[in-house]
């Protein structure tokens, strides 16, 4: 590959467009509200805010790569958080010495991750063995997970944690917020998983053509189970961050995150029909959304208007991508 074609490839990638969008939004917000948007306080606060939904977007990404979707991510996150919170409130006294409560925190986290894995496994079974369309399977299971969380809590928030819990969501290591570290780590893990393992390649290929995957003797069921388990575990990590930041857990936290996770994945260039998507694109989409969201906030736009803007953005991006895809297709297939 000559340097020239390499640079053309980079500029032609959808991720390049996203980089420009992210920079533009950042620039625009900096100009519109320079004192507040660019303040170190705002930058830090953004770094605390986005990881929780960004991780949900990563979970969404891997399911979308297979041509599926996981509408239960928020349900899984809340169920995991509720279980962790119940363990903490049951066994860890807020007055407990830090060392002791840390053990309970570890137990609670392990339980949350296990819940995420089991929930993901359930989703995977519905999709792989029962052959349900992922959008319906996870819509239903999401309600079930939320229902469990409500049943366990009576619908009210679970609170009263030992202070160590704050480590997940509110602490900084070398000035870097812990949630941000978690997000970066998970993004790297997912990136490596997708690009450096047989599993990752199979996920993308299956998304590109499930029938051809069957004919290529790929163990589709096993692959799908793994995909949804990963999505479930990622969701439960997001749930733990939410729990720590809110210092409580509740069955209906983060209800706007589902739309946001779908939006970010699609904005990030993940093909909702499967077969294409890169983690770097999703990361750039996360940044664009966070810049936009914080900026609008500072300009005094209400939260309700924000959802309207997100929804409109999702539709717009889909329209643009669909047209870009069909234009690409027609240029590739001259005649038959």
């Amino acid at each position: 590959m000559t340097p020239q074609t390499a640079s053309r490839n980079i500029t032609a990638a959808p991720e390049f467009r996203l980089l420009i969008i992210a920079v533009l939004v950042f620039g625009l917000m900096s100009v519109l509200s320079p004192d507040r948007f660019l303040s170190s306080q705002n930058l830090t606060s953004m770094a605390f805010q986005f990881p929780e939904f960004a991780i949900l977007a990563l979970a969404m990404t891997i399911t979308m790569l297979t041509g599926g979707i996981d509408l239960s991510v928020v349900g899984v996150a809340n169920l995991s958080a509720v279980v962790a919170a119940l363990i903490l409130t049951q066994f860890a006294d807020p007055a407990m010495p830090a060392g002791q409560s840390a053990i309970w925190l570890a137990m609670a986290m392990a339980a949350a991750l296990a819940i995420g894995a089991v929930a993901g496994l359930a989703n995977g079974c519905l999709v792989a063995f029962f052959g349900l369309p992922p959008i319906l399977a996870t819509l239903g299971s999401g309600l079930v997970f939320t229902g469990f969380a409500i049943a366990m809590t009576g619908g009210s928030a679970v609170m009263g944690f030992p202070p160590t819990v704050a480590v997940i969501g509110n602490a900084q290591v070398l000035g870097i917020p812990v949630p941000l570290i978690l997000f970066v780590a998970l993004a790297i893990v997912l990136h490596l998983l997708l690009t450096r393992t047989a599993f990752g390649l199979r996920v993308t290929m299956f998304g590109a053509n499930p029938l051809a995957a069957l004919y290529a003797a790929i163990d589709i069921n096993r692959m799908l189970l793994k995909v949804y388990v990963i999505a479930g575990v990622f969701s439960s990590i997001a749930g733990l961050i939410i729990m720590s930041r809110a210092n409580s857990a509740k069955a209906d936290y983060g209800s706007s995150y589902l739309l946001l996770a779908v939006l970010i994945a699609v904005l990030g260039g993940v093909n909702p029909y499967g077969g294409y998507g890169r983690v770097i694109g999703v990361v750039l989409a996360v940044l664009s959304m966070q810049f936009l969201s914080s900026g609008l906030n500072m300009l005094g736009v209400s939260n309700f208007a924000r959802e309207l803007i997100w929804g409109a953005l999702l539709i717009l991006v889909m329209v643009i991508n669909t047209h870009a895809v069909s234009a690409l297709r027609s240029s590739l297939k001259p005649s038959k």
């Binding site: 450096r196 390649l201 051809a212 003797a217 005649s335």
Partner: protein, 498 residues
Amino acid sequence: MSSDHDTAFIDLRAITKRYAGVTALDSVDFTVQPGEAVCLAGENGSGKSTLIKIISGVEPGTEGSVRIAGEERPVLNPRISAAAGVMVIFQDFSLFPNLSVAENIAFATQLTQQERFYKAGAAREIARTALERIGVEIDLDARVEALPVAQKQLVAICRALASRAQLIIMDEPTTALTEKEVRRLQGIIRKLKDEGVAVIFVSHKLAEVLEVSEKVVVLRNGKKVAEGPASEFDTQSLTYHMTGRDVAEVPPSDVRAGAETLMEVRGLSKAGSFSDISFELKAGEILGITGLLGSGRTSVAKALFGLVVPDEGAITVEGHPVPTGDPQAASRARIGYVPEDRLTEGLFLSQSILRNVAIGRLDAHTKSGVLNMGGLVSEAADWLKRLKVKAPDVNAPVQSLSGGNQQRVALARWLSRAPRVLVLNGPSVGVDVGSKADIHDIIRDLASQGIGIIVISDDLPELLATCHRILVMREGRIIDALDGRAVSEDELARRLAS
């Protein structure tokens, strides 16, 4: 010449069609007179589909003029074209399987008449008239999905007639027909011509329709390379014009004496699709399985690779039983399967050429969970080179390749897994004649290396050019086993269609 143009129903002049830099049609003149039957011949990619698309209004030409029924048509779309009497019958007939014969025939007519309500009585009347015109009887209330292929085709013809067709374009009309059915179709075509309805046959198997046609037009690489009365053409001269060269093929050399039995199939049965399929395959042997569309050949092929679950029967490879109905087990037993439909079953179209090959060897290149990308890519690239895949960029999507090269990519995927048995379903479907001969070379070469090969095909010259033995299937059973190098094409055709 000018009078030709004046009377013509279809009159295309200097039609050129370019897609993103590719010239699909290059200044082609094409006329069809009322009541004339024209054979439009050409390999895949020769431009015949593009020509049909222009006539039927699916796509506009880049340059040139289109006249239908004497009228200049600067703007054309499928509705205008259909209103002018141009009807296309695609290979799959585009019928509604869940509706009745009468509904299928009358549907389009009732739509064009802007009827708001469906009138069952009127529909039956329309359908009856159309059937009478071609002199056949089909139960008006039968559901179309329950009809045999030949009758579905008749329903499609009647639908075209009911919509006042002046020209019926038939895509590959004889592929699924028995000899008897082909003769009946010929009779119907003659009747249509007597009524002044013109017909265009689009096909690469033209021998069967040549005798009812007046004119032959051959396209190659978007140019008209031959045109003349049908009586001046035969299969051989058509092939010559289509390919621009004489393609002579040598049958495979003998199977090595004392070659061990690789695969054994015993009593494979599946209700409603095939029954009691038994055969043996030796190392280095090429076994053909043929039959008309619907004879069960494809289901058997899929069953060999675990894609169709048989009710009964056993498959062994090198003496080891292979669990049926499990593609991964078949793959582990080193059976490879190249499906008939490359576009939906065989390839990951949007993915790169390299990946399409590499997907078969992921596990072999994985060490403690990490994929050795370098090794994987270089092996895949090596196979692409060995099969002489012509690709400017192996990282380009596989859909950018021609049919012949796509087929090589599908083959490369399985060859990289060192199969013992390779099942090739329609190895040269949709591949141009030149690449076809190359693919046959590859098949013979693989067999000489000791791979057992099963070729599933209804392309008789292909079977004769590649197979040691040919099994003929009808209604789900093997009815004949022939020596591929002793039997003639006519004899094979007779056994197939009798």
